[in-house]
Amino acid sequence: MVTKTEENQLNRLESQVDNGGSGAWEYLCLVRKLKLRRSDKVLKHGLSILNNPSKRSALGPEEWTLYEQVAVAAMDCQSLDVAKDCIKVLQKKFPDSKRVGRLEALLLEAKGSWELAEKAYSSLLEDNPLDQTIHKRRVAMAKAQGNIPGAIEWLNKYLEIFMADHDAWRELGEIYVSLQMYKQAAFCYEELILSQPTVPLYHLAYADVLYTLGGLENLQTAKKYYTSTIDLTGGKNTRALFGVCLCTSAIAQITKGKSKEEKEGAQVQSLAAKVLEKDYKQRAPDKLPQLTTALKSLTLSS
């Protein structure tokens, strides 16, 4: 999770390093810690450190981690010869390393030779059958070749063994959503919320999936999760506020004609509408009339 302070720090370091200042090593460490995908900047600044022998020796044993990071970034930017050179250096230093073997198979994947990469991964798996990263790379390869059902199958097999890997659950949820298999996607997001209940983004995604599914029960659960997102973010998440309004009006449309006992639904909706109007007045006052007409049509149709 990237918090706002970390994002500020990252942006500051990035602008400092881009304008020719020092601190490239801290920038690279921060990118590695936050697991971000800034491959072009990592490649440029990593190479500037690695090509400078004094800076390289100043790193000490961290030099090899930098080689690995630059190799992966080079593969992402399609500079495959840079990646090959980095891997050659790592191979000279660590001749029989599984980590370097994984990097070589990754290079084969980046080149597009899928069968060779598959063979390399299977041979690595024979020595080490419980290596999580290699299983995940097989899923990524299936995804890259366009074989989404194959990717789902591999990912399900992986998750039967390693049930606690929330990155994999997230990936599976996103794949299901892209295939419009919303029931299965809802299950994946439930697993994510179970393992990390304090991240509001998972609640929001789950509520979105439930709202898309539709049906009275799903809408009521979606409204609950939108409100929990509002709770976790202190009322600042605009999407969750809109979600609450839409869910309430959709529920009211379905239960039109049946007896309406609960009035607290309308209370939540009016509160959310008030917060939205205040927010828009502060941040985008020219869009405020559109918002008020839209909210009025929502309450009128219910």
């Binding site: 999770m1 990237v2 302070t5 995908r37 690695l50 010869d81 050179d85 390869m141």
Partner: protein
Amino acid sequence: MALGFAIGVFGVLILFHAAYSTIQYRGLLKITEEEFSGPPFNVVIELSLGLVLCMWAALTVPGKFLSIHPDSEENRIVSLPANLDFMIFNHRGKVFPVEMDLKLKQ
């Protein structure tokens, strides 16, 4: 910072002094064989003064306190990490022009 530290040390010394006077007072009461109901009034004042000084020092010496709200401006989650284990390489970035001077020198 140094002032806070000095005041903290002073507050701790006051507390020790109050403890010592209470023990002396108890010894005195044992001689006159009276009940020990509580420390004398000025020792209580000394105790509360030591408490105030120590608390002030404890709050000022450590420096800036960080926020613990998950939704405060510094702590809120801006984005999720990019799921690098499932990263694929055949994206449209292939058609971007590669800067020619990017090479690893031996």
